[in-house]
Symmetry: C2
Subunit: 210 residues, 2 copies
Amino acid sequence: MVGNSLGTKLVEGGHSVFLGSRSAASEAGQAWLRSVEGRGQIGTFAEAAAFGEVVTDATNGANTLTALRLAGAENLRGKILIQAANPLDVSKGFPPTMTVCDTDSLAEQTQREFPEARVVKALNTINCAVMVNPGLLAEDHDLIICGNEAAAKAEVTKWLGEWFGWKAERVIDLGDIAQARGTEMYLALWTRLWGALGTPHFNLRIVRAA
Amino acid sequence: MVGNSLGTKLVEGGHSVFLGSRSAASEAGQAWLRSVEGRGQIGTFAEAAAFGEVVTDATNGANTLTALRLAGAENLRGKILIQAANPLDVSKGFPPTMTVCDTDSLAEQTQREFPEARVVKALNTINCAVMVNPGLLAEDHDLIICGNEAAAKAEVTKWLGEWFGWKAERVIDLGDIAQARGTEMYLALWTRLWGALGTPHFNLRIVRAA
């Protein structure tokens, strides 16, 4: 769902989009391709990663590392990898628990296993409809990112502005990739706010002292 | 620090406040008592819990259960226990890790061990200066609470309005006490936002769809 949303919005913006999955022409992939009237490509994780100038990880967090292994370290080398995935274990019901947290994170696992990928954790704190359309919400709100490389975070901030309309001044950089423990663990609150508010269409606006 | 802030604000509001600690007349307690010009009482956890119509848990989360055992189940019976404590392990540096998370929470441990206390998790998502003065921040912002008993949550919402100025319409009730996993795990983000923003004086304003 996240990959489809991101892909559709990027296609609409005139970008060349290649959606990867386990199988080259999955049913979900074909449905997406029809929905964008053929203005995109679908294939394996490895084909998608090889194609991309930038790679976005919108996988199910419990299977992210498996998917990235299928994508292949050689296809991720030197590329910015925007990780929107969260390590949620949805197998035991809602709200989900986490497959990793507190002393490690999916983002750190990813950066460790793919040291030549330039991992930027971003977009994982919001629903996909808000990701691609921050103006959906009634007021400006904040995107919290992190990653080891300042240049990669600056690029991602610029892209998220160009692609989706995120304002650079509303991007909060927490620091290195280990800070993803914070944004991933926030999902434990995010899923419950979704339940309490009755909608996933919300986000945080950090209010500071007057 | 949290207990002192809450105690001082309540004393200033004309309430009778009894601060408990391990020792009956701790140095910190005596310093607080001087700071409020004797308009309060200090003593043991048990004395404080016995005194209170309502009990606020502002302990160091790693030692909360120990402190509550010293307070005594008989002194908590039937009383609303506002738990501002968080299960943070600060022994290994900053940002802290958690002593419990994901599949359990300090609030649930507390409610399980003290089934006759009416535990309401509240105020744990903000710095103590913001707890007692929500107007410190530039815009309205949200207080996220939970607990098993609707009547107790309604009382706490009313009190937080009367005591500190929290607006009832900005209180978000996540549901039963297990939802405290969400507000406690948010501390992993809160501590990092503190680092990134350079101040603990901030809070979340949840922005919804237009």
